[in-house]
Symmetry: C2
DNA sequence: CCATAAATGTCCCGTACGGTAAAAATAAAT
DNA sequence: ATTTATTTTTACCGTACGGGACATTTATGG
């Protein structure tokens, strides 16, 4: 089990989100520098976000996630909405 | 169809996220003031977040969502991970 | 072990976040 | 139509965000 195995699924904290983003990035063999170029966000920002910075701007976070090929789903806890209708 | 029907599911923008949060809050018959009290976030912040402010702090956004009883799921686009294993 | 790549830290800067309090505007209830 | 409730705006404040440039530290690969 690698230190960098993405734990996809529910996110509760900025730490958890950042860890997932980093792990996912590494599975894609992307450096912070490359992601920086693709997203137009600074390596510094990305590094801080991945380390769980709670004061990061949500617009930039969503952008980073999108560039990484990660989707964000928001729904009620214990949703009755059928999960295969989310796409 | 009400103006405030929550569109649960994938989120791509801060506008979309804010709209969902507002719609959801209203289905719960909560005012911004009440949510403010529950979350310890100011009504001003919440109002701005719901109107899609891209520079809002992600830690506070996640907190607001949690108090609202909304969960956030992050996973690869077109994930091969089975969706009923997310819980 | 060594060289290189990648990530993190430091300094500086311009911009602005989020809270408080109160006023103004808008929406909802009567 | 009027009153009440809710949301948005305004003004002010202390704090800090994110970017650029560069230095330092850590991780990786041979």
């Amino acid at each position: 089990m690698s230190k960098y195995t993405p734990q996809y699924g529910q996110i509760r904290t900025t730490e958890g989100l950042g860890k997932l983003a980093r792990a996912h990035r590494k599975t894609r063999r992307l450096t912070l520098d490359t992601l920086s170029g693709l997203s137009d966000l600074s390596p510094k920002f990305l590094s801080e976000f991945e380390r769980g910075k709670p004061t990061a701007e949500i617009g930039k976070v969503l952008k980073a996630l999108r560039i990484l090929g990660l989707e964000v789903i928001v729904r009620p806890v214990r949703s009755n909405v059928k999960r295969n209708q989310e796409a």
